[in-house]
């Protein structure tokens, strides 16, 4: 049965046979007699890992996943963008569990490639409408009082954006994988603004990165003074280079573009700057030809990560629907799951921490009798916002707004357990 080990490929015919066998067994509540009759060689014969010594304790000074997990990686869709330096890769949500995204799997969005910055040469400047413009080194920043640890999701404004016109990409990695959720360590941006002394006319800040895109966004001062962090660590270690090492901005609940990586500058001003990333991009064109701007908040959203097109059901009988939900407006209070395309819903089990503006895990344990499923999840947050259907979103926005698609996702699970991205009436 070694073909069922993770990471090895199973051809379609064999997969179907195995699924059928398992299903037949489950249906009668008895395991197939053939499987009973032949002792499993992995049990009756000693495998090499039980006899020979394994590698020593420092085989990998920085540990890596098992080779059997080699397929759990970020992926890109090359036709999406003109260059890989201004592009996006996707988090393999289908293979993850819990709420914390491993650092090496966090999706990546660059506009000018991955800057490699010597932290000893990195500086962070606060200037503009302040009493005293200041420059901080990384050492200064790590000595600041008020250090904070917070779990937040970071979702690209364009997550699910390719799905506005209909089901297009087959897998939650592609439809929903422009998101990650980690513990940030940093200092409130407020501490730096207070150190510089914001003048009374200051109403907005401009945050800028040190990379070749010199990424900039205007952020209302109210948000900057509320919960934004200047962060240097994620999940307990230094930021990864692709996530802004040595310093990034954390803008909880707001679209990922604003989370400026390689953060080098905050300017205080009395109006927004009309930067490219808040005019040409990250504005939402509606059907009447007008566009919303400053659509900062990411609304409540969820997706079933398993089963999904990259994670088919393998057997009838007991199964687990697993998924994630999040809301930029607050805390996820409830997730409902339907197996029949939205006719009937069951409230799922939220398991583990349900933190504000953070990814939240839900499960629904169920028995699968081999019937086709139309699987959906529907998130609700503590403001009472209920995740809408795609049709409800399109009725307000049309199909050309690119960003902020938080519509309900449907997976068609076929009788053989394979799943497909579909839309339903």
């Amino acid at each position: 049965m070694n073909q069922t080990k993770p990471g090895t490929r199973v051809d379609r015919r064999r997969f179907l046979t195995l699924a059928g066998l398992a299903g037949a067994g489950a249906a009668t509540g008895v395991r197939p007699a053939a499987a009973e009759a032949t002792p499993d060689p992995d049990i009756v014969n000693l495998p090499p890992w039980t006899q020979a010594l394994g590698a020593g304790v420092n085989n990998h000074p920085y540990g890596i996943p098992s080779p059997f997990e080699k397929d759990v990686v970020r992926r890109e869709v090359t036709w999406l963008t003109a260059s890989s330096e201004s592009s996006v890769s996707f988090t393999p949500l289908y293979a993850l569990d819990g709420i914390i995204t491993p650092n090496g799997l966090c999706f990546v969005r660059h506009h000018g490639g991955e800057a490699e910055i010597d932290p000893a040469r990195h500086h962070f400047m606060i200037h503009g409408m302040v009493d005293k413009p200041l420059v901080f080194t990384m050492e200064d920043i790590k000595r600041m009082p008020g250090r904070t640890n917070r779990v937040y999701f970071l979702e690209c404004a364009a997550n699910s954006g390719m799905e506005w016109r209909g089901a297009q990409l087959n897998g939650c990695q592609y439809t929903h994988g422009m998101i990650h959720n980690v513990v940030y360590t940093g200092v409130p941006l407020r501490a730096f603004l207070e150190a510089a002394g914001v003048k009374s006319k200051g109403k907005w800040v401009l945050a800028e990165g040190a990379d070749a895109s010199a990424m900039t966004r205007s952020i209302p001062l109210e948000k900057a003074m509320d919960d934004c962090l200047v962060a240097w660590a994620m999940n307990g270690e230094a930021l990864r280079p692709e996530q802004g090492y040595p310093l990034r901005l954390v803008v909880p609940g707001w679209e990922g573009n604003m989370w400026i990586k390689w953060l080098r500058r905050i300017e205080v001003g009395d109006q927004p700057w009309g930067q490219r990333e808040e005019t040409s991009k990250y504005t939402d064109l509606l059907a009447d030809g007008r566009s919303r701007r400053f659509t900062f908040i990411m609304d409540a959203k969820s997706v079933v990560t398993s089963p999904s097109p990259q994670a088919p059901l393998r057997a009838k009988g007991p199964n687990v629907v697993s998924g994630v939900a999040w809301s930029g407006r607050g805390t996820i209070t409830r997730v409902d799951v339907t197996l029949d395309g939205g006719k009937n819903w069951t409230t799922a089990r939220i398991e583990g921490p349900a933190l504000p503006r953070a990814m939240t895990r839900f499960y629904l344990d169920f028995d699968w009798n081999g019937e086709e499923l139309l699987l959906q999840s529907r998130a609700m947050d503590d403001t009472g916002y209920v995740q809408p259907t795609k049709a409800e979103l399109r009725a307000v926005r049309g199909v050309n707004s690119i960003y902020h698609n938080n519509g309900i996702q449907t997976w068609l699970v076929r009788g053989n357990g394979e799943a497909e991205n579909v839309e339903v009436s």
């Binding site: 397929d71 600041m144 930067q275 400053f294 991205n421």
Partner: protein, 223 residues
Amino acid sequence: MSRSARSCAVAGAFLIAFTGLAAAEAVKLGRPALPEEIKAWDIDVRPDGLGLPEGKGSVSQGEEVFQNNCAACHGEFGEGVGRWPVLAGGQGTLKSERPEKTIGSFWPDTSTVFDYVHRAMPFGAAQTLQPDEVYAIVAYLLYLNDVVPEDYVLSKENFPTIALPNRANFYDDDRETTEKAFWNANPCMKDCKPKVEITSHAAVLDVTPDAGKEGDKPAGAVE
């Protein structure tokens, strides 16, 4: 100025400086940013023209700079090569099935063109263009978008008078009113609709990256 007035002014300046220092010293970290340092990084330009450097450039100068630095990706007339961004045209398409969002058809502010070209273009050689070159490129792009005539010279002085066509068509996020229906304390749980039909299949489009060999499963499928 009388002696007392002068001493007041000096005291006032001192007081302002001292207040600033006191705030910074509250954390005793960081140091004053020097004017040269701020100038080196503060290149942003606002819609009201704040931040524009001294300089000017004509459409014809811009055409030359554009052909040498930009046309390889954006095309000789801003039409875009391959999948690289289209910079001109598309006027009147925003309500259509496939809108073409360019500087002329979509962007609200001329300042953004100057700022973005200056800070981030050419792609791969950012911040290599001098202010006069940027003025010239912006003039050429405005010409390609029928915003200025062929003999136009764009400068710091006349910059704020240039308005882009789509300026008025942006409004602040209004989801909390226009999407108020999405706040619903009691969503339907039972018998919510009589029937369900599949209206769209991703597999029909078949544009998802696959693992290569089998070709019929999305890349990364759990085996």
